[in-house]
Point group: C2
Chain length 210, copies 2
């Protein structure tokens, strides 16, 4: 992270930037990324819309900043939960729990990253690196779990991606399957215990053999 800004002006600038991002998140939380509006943000700040162009070059740049910020936040959250447990299995349990916590805390943030893509919007190149960072702890844990058995795991990928890759992908798709349907409200009225469902899927995914 860069040093904290020194001059009063720079500090003020950072503060206003933060408030813009904050209000932008509130809009997205309310009505999804399509509702992101510079004019509405300016209004809520008691400013006029053109003033925001001192802080962001365009609406798209603001959206990019939000997305990258969300990726970064998830990456940090996941990394913090990594390397804490004694066994790969309990580590994976921790990672799954932390992921669901992050997702349910701000549903629209999760959906912004993994939901229906914004039409016409091109993900920034930075995103792929962050995706890797998020994926790595899971991969490491499965790697550790599979190395002992000395088996190869290349069924799910065209080239060999090392042990644990296939299981990691399936771990991810299973958790995402439950999460995305939950966040989109598709379990409502079906009398499903999502906690229990998520736990079952976590356990089953941890037990995957290559």
């Amino acid at each position: 992270l860069p040093d904290a800004p020194t001059s009063p002006r720079a500090r003020y600038r950072e503060q206003v930037r933060a408030e813009i991002l904050n209000l932008a998140w509130r809009q997205i939380a309310d009505a999804g990324s399509a509702a992101l509006s510079l004019r509405a943000i300016a209004q809520q700040m008691g400013m006029t819309a053109p003033a925001l162009y001192r802080y962001f070059a365009s609406r798209d740049e603001l959206l990019t900043e939000l997305i990258v910020g969300a990726y970064r936040d998830l990456a940090e959250t996941v990394e913090q939960a990594s390397g804490q447990a004694e066994h790969p299995a309990s580590e994976l349990r921790d990672l799954a729990r932390v992921l669901r916590g992050w997702a349910t805390e701000h549903p629209q943030r999760y959906l912004l990253l993994y939901g229906t893509p914004v039409p016409g919007y091109q993900a920034p190149t930075e995103a792929t690196a962050l995706t890797t960072r998020i994926f790595t702890p899971v991969l490491k844990a499965f790697n550790a779990a599979t190395t002992t058995t000395r088996r190869r795991d290349h069924t799910v990928t065209r080239r060999d991606r090392g042990p644990g890759f296939g299981q990691s992908v399936r771990f991810w798709t299973r958790l995402h399957g439950v999460l995305s349907l939950e966040l989109a409200g598709h379990f409502v009225g079906m009398d499903i215990d999502v906690d229990e469902l998520y736990d079952q899927e976590t356990q089953a995914a941890i037990g995957l053999k290559s």
Copy 2:
């Protein structure tokens, strides 16, 4: 289905209605449901926008018709693949295959039903009945598979929902996990063989014990 319309006027009416729905789908396929625009549809038909109000009361009603139509189409597709196979396992394989075919054929149609919900839009009551219809064949197959073992399956739901319910839900979430990430483009650049991944998940879900 109601009888085919008799009078020329009624036939013409049906034809125009169909063309509107058709163009609406094309818009959604291009840029998602947010891009659905009455004015754009009218323009493509060489008509003025107010003329569409002869056929649909509002934009929302048109969207509802599209959603219900998609649900109905999926229900029919799934039902056609149901009751064909000899064993529950091969039946479930068929259902999974048919689902993926339907989803990949028109990605935005699948995402319209199971992707990030349209903010502020309330799903029609008809939708829940259709969701049940779509879910039933899977439930039946798991039901048939589990009845022989005489075991109860109520871990995933608060009340007992009969044998096979939990497995059916997990069958659904796993396939959706792969499908939604695939359709949203999240496997791009990861060198994943999605066919293989989907098959693996299908097989694993079929093997679920209660």
